[in-house]
């Protein structure tokens, strides 16, 4: 059994002249929530986009469940069970919840005609599993709050058996209450055996929920610490100083 669900080794990425990632090693363990933090331009988005197939690294290797993999497209990543949840971008606002959950993967009994009963039932179940109190899957997503929408997007990846879920700034533009709700969802995912990469600017949120922190700055990894080995203040000073843990 592999030690990590995902291992990214020595990842380099250039965008033209911009050296976005300078030899980053990044691992995610099983049943783990990793907080990927760092200021703007640190390379967080680029790193996870490589993992989810939107970019291809110029140098470096990726191992999934101990085996070397070649992720060229988002489809490849999805096949492995790596799913990314972006914010609003993930859902169609004027379409119902159940149709959103099954977007592109609609269940069908006959010639492609949608099995509505199954679609409605299954989406209701997975929403409830996640802790979302939505009674009617035919409600249009637009009528939901930000936190609930995030929940629907997460429920979608939960249903489709994701093994690793990447949440890119999930609590941005959410109220305090809604942010807490989203973090509860993350805990749910972990308890279902799914690992989570939580990218955020909000160090307080990151500290609240992550098992481990990885700090990136200017394309390099500054720190990789378990929660027990550090404190909120230390994390903040690491990020703002831009120096690695050994240097501080």
């Amino acid at each position: 059994m592999a030690e990590y669900i995902v291992q990214m080794v020595d990842i380099h990425k250039w965008f033209g002249k911009v050296y976005a990632l300078r030899g980053v090693d990044f691992n995610v363990g099983f049943n783990e929530i990793v907080g990927l933090v760092g200021d703007n331009g640190a390379g967080k988005s680029t790193l996870i986009k490589i993992l989810s197939g939107y970019h291809i690294a110029d140098r470096g290797e990726i191992y999934f469940n101990g085996e070397k993999v070649n992720i060229q497209t988002p489809k490849d990543a999805k096949k492995l069970g790596i799913e990314t949840v972006y914010q609003e971008q993930a859902l169609a606002p004027h379409v119902s919840i159940s149709r959103n959950v099954f977007m592109g993967r609609e269940p069908s009994k006959f010639l492609g005609f949608i099995d509505k009963k199954k679609m409605d039932n299954d989406s209701l179940n997975v929403l409830t599993d996640l802790g979302l109190k939505i009674k009617d899957p035919n409600l249009v997503v637009e009528t939901l709050s930000g936190g609930q929408r995030q929940g629907v997007a997460i429920a979608r990846v939960l249903y489709f058996k994701a093994k690793l879920v990447i949440l890119d700034e999930p609590t941005i533009a959410l109220s305090v209450k809604e942010s807490q709700q989203v973090m509860e969802f993350m805990k749910q995912l972990r308890s279902e055996g799914i690992s989570v990469i939580f990218i955020t600017h909000n160090i307080y949120h990151a500290f609240q929920i992550s098992d481990r922190f990885v700090i990136l700055s200017h394309g390099e990894k500054l720190a990789d610490v378990r929660k027990e080995e550090t404190s909120l203040d230390e994390l903040i000073s690491l990020i703002t100083s831009g120096k690695s843990k050994s240097e501080v």
Partner: protein
């Protein structure tokens, strides 16, 4: 539990309001023309005949235009495609090609025109509006050039059955064109509302990025829909020219905007992702009944533009108002 049920009823009502609302407007218009027309001419057999036969030629088009608009695209070249296919069919019959083969080939040509519209729109990444304006002029221009001075009649002797399919009567009173309208509306309606492809249409039109992220090939969805539009337009072209009996270079003139108007009146959003075929069905009938009613009431032709303009703008305003209402209802209740 009680609050959720109430929320569902209210929201559903608003969403379906559009389609129901359109149906009611249709009934109101029908009654208005019925009462206002001298001697109730509106419901005379002759007029109803015209409404159900010629009217149905037009009403079929918004059904597929609505489908395309749900996917977030427009096709302004339907009128040009219509006249082009009309000409192709005429020419094929003229040189002696079998009627069935001619029909098949014409529909193939129409599908190809639609396909090319779709292909250019998605590949060249030019907004469909522009692409279509271009093709609109292209196909009509080509047709006008080729058909210069064409005066012949369509020779369909000995093909009574073929003619009957497009212009006959059901049970001696209902023009078969209306039946075609119902069939096409049901077919498209089933696909849009109950088939996977329909969900791809809505999600592509509502949030293309999300649809792509979920693995839906939005380009293919659009190209297929454009092709369906082309095929149906070709079918209507055949239906029309068989009825008229001769080629006319003005065929389909102005249909594109009326088709979009019908779709909008039927609750389809210009931005995509919103609409129902049920609504478009009644929206098309409304546009058709107005065209018919204005003639029956002997209202001068130039008034039709004004009236259509007013209807279109009021529909758009009502639609926006309802959208705003819908949003605030949802937020108010979801905030609990």
């Amino acid at each position: 539990m009680g609050i959720d049920n109430k929320r569902r009823r209210v929201v559903d009502l608003f969403i379906e309001f559009r389609a129901l609302d359109v149906f009611i407007i249709f009934i109101l218009l029908f009654l208005t023309f019925l009462l206002l027309s001298p001697g109730h001419r509106f419901i005379s057999k002759d007029n109803l005949d015209v409404f159900f036969s010629i009217g149905s030629e037009f009403t079929i088009v918004p059904i597929v235009i609505g489908m395309l608009m749900i996917a977030g695209e427009f096709d302004l070249s339907v009128g040009s495609n219509l006249v082009f296919c009309s000409f192709i069919f005429f020419k094929l019959i003229d040189v002696g090609v079998n009627v069935w083969l001619s029909s098949f080939l014409t529909i193939l040509v129409g599908t190809f025109v639609g396909f090319s519209n779709g292909f250019i729109t998605v590949k060249a990444k030019i907004p469909s509006f522009i692409t279509i304006l271009g093709t609109m002029m292209l196909w009509r221009g080509v047709t006008l050039f080729w058909s210069q001075g064409l005066q012949k009649a369509l020779e369909l002797q000995g093909h009574d059955f073929f003619v009957k399919i497009f212009t006959g009567q059901i049970a001696k009173f209902l023009p078969v064109q209306f039946l075609w309208f119902i069939i096409i509306a049901l077919l498209i309606g089933f696909i849009v509302h109950f088939h996977r492809f329909g969900n791809w249409l809505y999600t592509t039109g509502d949030n293309k990025q999300a649809a792509r992220a979920m693995g839906i090939n939005t380009d293919m969805v659009k190209v297929i829909t454009f092709s369906i539009v082309g095929a149906v337009v070709a079918f209507v072209a055949i239906m029309q020219i068989v009825r008229v009996g001769t080629f006319t270079s003005r065929a389909g003139d102005g249909w594109e905007l009326n088709a979009i108007a019908a779709a909008v009146v039927g609750g389809t959003a210009l931005s995509g992702g919103i609409g129902s075929i049920f609504g478009v069905f009644w929206g098309a009938l409304i546009i058709s009944i107005i065209q018919n009613g204005l003639v029956v009431l002997r209202i001068p032709y130039y008034w039709t533009f004004t009236i259509f303009g007013v209807i279109l703008i009021s529909s758009a305003i009502i639609s926006l108002y309802l959208d705003k209402k819908r949003l605030s209802v949802g937020a108010a209740e979801a905030g609990n």
